[in-house]
C-alpha cells in the first residue's frame, strides 16, 4: 500500500526521483511546481492561523484545527518543502556541471525554467571570466575554453556533456512487450521484454524516450 499517486505531491516525488537519477537535466515541471508551491503556501497559512487562534485562546482548543492536526500538517509541509528544495538543487547541480553544454544547446536550454536560464547564463559568464584570467596568458592557439587547440571550424572538444550512456536503475510502469533498444540497429536480438513492475539496470540512452512518455520511473 502506498499513498494515492495522483496527487501533485506524489507527482513531485516522482519528478524529484527521476531528476536525481537521470544523468542529464530533464524538462522543468513548471505547472506542477507552481501548483505544489501554491498548495504549500495555502497550507502554511492554514496552520499558522490555527496556531495563532490557539495561542489567542490561551492554549485551549479553538474552533479551527486542533493541535495534533496542525502538527501533522506542519510535518507534511516540511517533507514537501524538502522535496522542492532538493529538486531545485539537483537541477542547479546539473546546470553547473555542464553549463556550456546547457547554454549552447537550444534543446537543452529550453528544458530550464526562466530563472534557471538566467542562472545558467550568469554562471557561464562567470566561468568564462574566471578561466579567461588564466587562459589569456597561454600561447596563441591555446586560449580557448572550448577547444584544446583553437581552430576556426574545429569541434568544441572541451565542453563537458552529460553521459547518456550511463547505466541507470528503472522500474517499468506499463507493459511494453518486446522493446527495441536501439532504433538504429533493428536486429530482433536487440530487444528486451518490458513488463510492468520489472526493474532494470539499463543504458539511459535506450530508455530516455520511455522516461519522457512516463512509461517507466528511475529509482
Amino acid at each position: 500500500m502506498t499513498q494515492p499517486d495522483d496527487t501533485d505531491v506524489a507527482k513531485l516525488k516522482r519528478a524529484w526521483m527521476n531528476e536525481k537519477c537521470a544523468p542529464e537535466i530533464l524538462q522543468f515541471q513548471a505547472d506542477l511546481v507552481a501548483r505544489v508551491t501554491e498548495q504549500v503556501e495555502h497550507q502554511e497559512a492554514t496552520v499558522s492561523s490555527a496556531r495563532a487562534a490557539a495561542a489567542a485562546a490561551g492554549g485551549a482548543a479553538s474552533g479551527g484545527l486542533d493541535d495534533l492536526t496542525a502538527h501533522i500538517m506542519h510535518a507534511e509541509l516540511n517533507r514537501v518543502r524538502f522535496m522542492l528544495r532538493s529538486y531545485y538543487r539537483t537541477r542547479l547541480h546539473k546546470i553547473e556541471a555542464h553549463v556550456v553544454h546547457v547554454v549552447k544547446e537550444t534543446e537543452v536550454y529550453e528544458k530550464l525554467s526562466p530563472q534557471e536560464q538566467e542562472y545558467a547564463k550568469d554562471y557561464a559568464n562567470l566561468i568564462e571570466g574566471h578561466f579567461g584570467s588564466v587562459l589569456k596568458d597561454l600561447p596563441d592557439r591555446y586560449t580557448s575554453m572550448l577547444q584544446q587547440i583553437e581552430e576556426e571550424d574545429g569541434p568544441f572538444d572541451m565542453v563537458a556533456e552529460p553521459n547518456l550512456d550511463k547505466h541507470v536503475f528503472c522500474r517499468i510502469k506499463e507493459d511494453r512487450g518486446d522493446f527495441l533498444l536501439d532504433p538504429n540497429d533493428p536486429d530482433p536480438a536487440n530487444t528486451v521484454e518490458l513488463n510492468k513492475g520489472d526493474i532494470y539496470l539499463i543504458r539511459y540512452r535506450f530508455i530516455k524516450g520511455l522516461l519522457e512518455e512516463d512509461a517507466l520511473e528511475l529509482i
Binding site: M1, T2, Q3, P4, T7, D8, V9, A10, K13, M17, K20, C21, V36, Q39, V40, Q43, D66, L68, T69, H71, I72, M73, A75, E76, L77, R79, V80, F82, S86, R89, T90, H93, K94, N163, D165, K166, H167, V168, F169, L181, N190, V192, G197, D198, I199, Y200, L201, I202, R203, F206, I219
Partner: protein
C-alpha cells in the same frame, strides 16, 4: 567504489521515500479527517483501524496516541518461508519495495506493538544478507548481454541503492570496452 557526488541518492533519501508507505494504525483518540496535500486521512475513532503513511503513524506513536499494526509479511512464519525459498530459488522473493526500511522503522518506534520484535529484526537481516550473497553471485555471472539491460525483478529500494555505485559503473566500463 566510485565516489558519491551531491546529486546521488543517499540512503537517508531512500528512507525518506519509504516513509510514504501506508501502514495501519489503531488510534486511541478521536479526530476528524485530516486534509493533507498528499491525501485525506481519517476520520479517527478509538479502536477503529485507519490507514496512514508511516511518517504520520510515527508521529502518533511517539505521542502515545496509537498502536501500529505490523504488515502481514512482517511475522516470524512468513519471514521464515521467505528465507527458505530465497535460499533454494534463483529468483528474488516478492517483498515490499521498502521492506528493509519498513522493518527497521517499525522495530525502532513500534516494538511494543510487535510480538518478539528482535527476532523479526534478525530474520529481516538474514533475508537481507541471503539476498546480498545472491546479488554478488549474480554479478559474477554478468556477460556482454548485460549491455542490453540487466533484469532485476523484486530488488528492493535499499538493495538498488547499495548496488548502484558499483554495478552501474561496472557496466559503464564494460560498455567502454566494446566501443
Amino acid at each position: 567504489m566510485s565516489t558519491r557526488s551531491s546529486s546521488d541518492l543517499t540512503h537517508q533519501e531512500v528512507n525518506f521515500s519509504a516513509e510514504d508507505e501506508v501502514v495501519l494504525v489503531v488510534p486511541n483518540f478521536s479526530l476528524q479527517q485530516v486534509h493533507l496535500l498528499g491525501g485525506t486521512y481519517g476520520p479517527f475513532r478509538p479502536q477503529i483501524q485507519a490507514a496512514v503513511p508511516l511518517w504520520f503513524a510515527t508521529i502518533l506513536k511517539k505521542q502515545g496516541k496509537c498502536c501500529i499494526i505490523p504488515p502481514m509479511w512482517l511475522n516470524v512464519n512468513a519471514l521464515r518461508t521467505v528465507i527458505e525459498t530465497e535460499r533454494v530459488d534463483d529468483v528474488f522473493q516478492g517483498l515490499p519495495f521498502h521492506y528493509i526500511e519498513l522493518a527497521a522503522e517499525l522495530c525502532k518506534h513500534a516494538r511494543d506493538d510487535m510480538i518478539d520484535w528482535s527476532r523479526l529484526y534478525d530474520l529481516v537481516d538474514t533475508i537481507r544478507s541471503v539476498r546480498h550473497v545472491k546479488i554478488q553471485s549474480g554479478l559474477r555471472g554478468l556477460n556482454a548481454d548485460a549491455l542490453k539491460g540487466v533484469k532485476l525483478r523484486h530488488l528492493s529500494a535499499i538493495e538498488v541503492n547499495v548496488l548502484r555505485p558499483f554495478m552501474s559503473s561496472v557496466v559503464d566500463h564494460f560498455l567502454n570496452c566494446f566501443k
